[in-house]
Symmetry: C2
């Protein structure tokens, strides 16, 4: 095998980073389950036609080709899914008779984007999604439950605090219609570029591209400036003097959602009327979250309500609302800035030393006893000098080394290699302190040997 | 969105089945970690050249194509990985300087095979792998640790017992050479077909295809019949009267491995000299495991030692040994036979009923308190009649319904909907019995009212 290199956009972590990633995925999953969401996992592929059907032309897709397919009957062509929402909608339609509604499901999987290799662009990454899909009617309460859950999940992770911005498509579309704008979609997509090109840029695009009057375009910018941590945004919108039925509906919905979230810490959830979310399928509430103090990274979670995505005939509606956490995006950023650290490079809490080949059975017996009580451990593979075995433990960050023969024969001892303290021990009863039992992931600057910032224990 | 169908070979499960799958994956992972294996995850793709480099022409591969790549500079072509061993070897070579050896890693991921759609053939499936990769020398102890670990993992799962068959390539190759056979590889590949075409078929292929003398071909069948649960196989091989140095080496290694495993339950590990494993890269010990009583399913786990896979220059050797558990293969089979059942269809242990809109805040507060103590629960979404809410819980198999107002006002009560027993309860202290806290996965025939309907087959 030839030495190979990384592939741009396909991130891979070292074991100590993967340990952190797994802890974070576990934590997310545990919270999703606490809220009663049930898991599904969909296949990696969908028929290309399905992936392209929602007008998602801005999504770049990897199509698959069987190397050995030559001359055989052609199947429909497949592509790798680029999100977990389209596959969910397909799955729900396909299995409708076997599912219970409202379906509260979570799904944590990789997705792929067939993009040009480019600095900072992921082509393979993890998303952690929750969605609620209802048969016919989806109560607005679920629109409020999403940011609540999102807040609970994210504040339990070893990452910076996340601020969740909320808007409602109906507010923007209704407002645009009230202004007499015909192409609300194009206006929405243009306003969505505010973070990228700024107010001046968007103004120019609205006037030159979407062909709005200057006053209408300016109003579009004014509403986009509204940003409140409670429902007072509604008065500000009304003060702009635009009247429209859809706008009223949107304001009512957004007010309900914001009012429902007032028990969350101030500032963790903000109504922000410039949030549009580019994807076509959202029809009401939309969400977007950023790491506070790291806004340049862009959205690390997002989502919204889609009333029309999962419907086979237009009559039988299956409206949904959901959010997605960009796990790889967060991790790649924090790893890149060296802000996330694992307390060791292996699950092993104990290295059982091997004094001699003759002692191997005894060393194995110690390991078996420790494992029986949930303590991760391994036996050193060769009867080398203790110094070498201890250095192996040091390199991996394994905190304890077990000696299956002590200074007195047949006595066992265990050493905390951080302090050097060595004490007699019995494998049937000894246990490490709780904080050493599992690998810990910490967020914060490294200072000397210690770690500043927040830590989690999973 | 149009109603879509299953795609042959890309299995998907219902939520209650996914809950079982997750539990099984969790348990496998926990055991791997107890043995001190550290996780990695590799990208889904490898350069096509890498995937094809080991002469793996029997592996069918999905190649990827960027839909929007037209006219751009072409990158090297990628394919989806078909196993986790080739990616591991590549990862180790690539990150050698950052890893500690012997590297004991586990990896639980999906793999893909670009096969023709065919009944019972998976094109996307989970593998759970452990491997040890050493710098330079890999002690034989690891060859014995693999089946030990495999046994520990598999006997902890809700599946039939697994019998692990062990052989050593050197035994077969040495034996063939001792018989004067020139093309040992072709002989090995032919003998590997014993389970498929039987002794007569293999004999014919050895004589007509590999061009062996009849007596040599018969000897190849004789050694393949040897099957012992201890190291007595060695005498039987010697009784066949073939002498060869590589054969002796193989017998020594296999004897060591079998002797090391004598503390495992009798019959759980068997030396079986017809096991060859088709893959080219194995160089010594080989493993294969079947579900007892379900042998027709074929191997559900397999692996072996490969001394030459991960080496960039032929000098710096990175020998490895590992095994792989075919998780999807096992699950698909047991789901198909309706032998695996989940105790409910959601993680929720409690449904908090919603008596009226006015009580929503109180219902949410109950849910928050239960969650704070690790009890998965959800609040019913609408203030419908209690009968309707209870039926929702019944359909999902949620064992408890919480009423945030009891018969006396402001009193809370909880009902076990299986027994109908309803008692006053305080959300700050109430907890379900341990066995109701999480979803249980059971293996066995269903008796009485089971909750699993059918499996979604593929």
């Amino acid at each position: 095998m030839k030495k190979a290199n990384a592939i741009s956009g396909f991130p891979e972590w070292l074991p100590e980073q993967r340990l952190i990633e797994l802890q974070i995925l576990d934590r997310i999953r545990a919270k999703f389950e606490l809220f009663g969401f049930t898991p599904i996992e969909t296949r990696a592929v969908e028929p290309l036609a399905q992936l392209l059907s929602k007008g998602e032309t801005d999504k770049e897709i990897y199509a698959l080709r069987r190397l050995q397919a030559a001359g055989e009957d052609e199947e429909a062509e497949f592509g790798l899914h680029f999100d977990l929402t389209i596959p969910l909608a397909r799955y729900v339609l396909q299995n409708q008779g076997y599912l219970n509604f409202p379906l509260k499901r979570y799904q944590i999987q990789k997705v792929w984007r067939g993009e040009r290799p480019q600095e900072g662009r992921y082509r393979e990454f993890y998303q952690a999604d929750i969605d609620v899909i209802a048969a016919n009617e989806l109560p607005l309460h679920f629109d409020a439950e999403m940011p609540w859950l999102l807040h609970e999940v994210l504040q339990s992770l070893p990452i910076p605090p996340v601020r969740i911005l909320i808007n409602n498509r109906k507010v923007l579309e209704g407002f645009y219609r009230g202004l007499g704008i015909e192409d609300a979609q194009a206006t929405l997509r243009t306003v969505d570029k505010l973070d990228k090109v700024g107010e001046k840029g968007v103004l120019a695009m609205l006037i030159d591209g979407v062909k709005l009057e200057r006053t209408a375009a300016q109003k579009c910018l004014e509403i986009a400036r509204i940003r409140e941590s409670d429902s007072s945004f509604a008065d500000k919108v009304e003060a702009l003097g635009v009247r429209n039925e859809l706008l009223d509906e949107g304001l009512h919905e957004l007010t309900f959602v914001m009012d429902s979230l007032q028990s969350l810490p101030k500032g963790s959830v903000v109504s922000d009327l410039h949030i549009a979310r580019g994807l076509d399928y959202y029809t009401g509430t939309v969400y977007e979250g950023c790491l506070e103090g790291h806004e340049s990274l862009g959205a690390v979670c997002s989502g919204g309500r889609y009333d029309d995505l999962a419907s086979s005939d237009g009559k039988n509606k299956l409206p949904g609302v959901g959010v997605s956490i960009g796990v790889t995006r967060i991790l790649g950023y924090l790893f890149g800035k060296d802000l996330l650290h694992a307390s060791r490079k292996t699950p092993s809490c104990v290295l059982v030393a091997l004094p001699s080949e003759a002692k191997r059975a005894e060393a194995n017996a110690v390991a078996r006893m420790l494992r029986g009580r949930g303590i991760c451990c391994e036996v050193f593979h060769l009867p080398q000098k203790y110094g070498k075995q201890i250095r192996y433990a040091e390199r991996l960050g394994i905190p304890y080394v077990w000696f299956p023969e002590g200074q007195e024969s047949n006595a066992h001892e265990v050493r905390d290699i951080r302090s050097g303290e060595q004490t007699p021990a019995d494998a049937q009863t000894w246990a490490p302190p709780e904080e050493d039992l599992t690998v810990k992931a910490d967020f914060g600057e490294l200072s000397g040997k210690g770690i500043l910032g927040r830590g989690i224990e999973v």
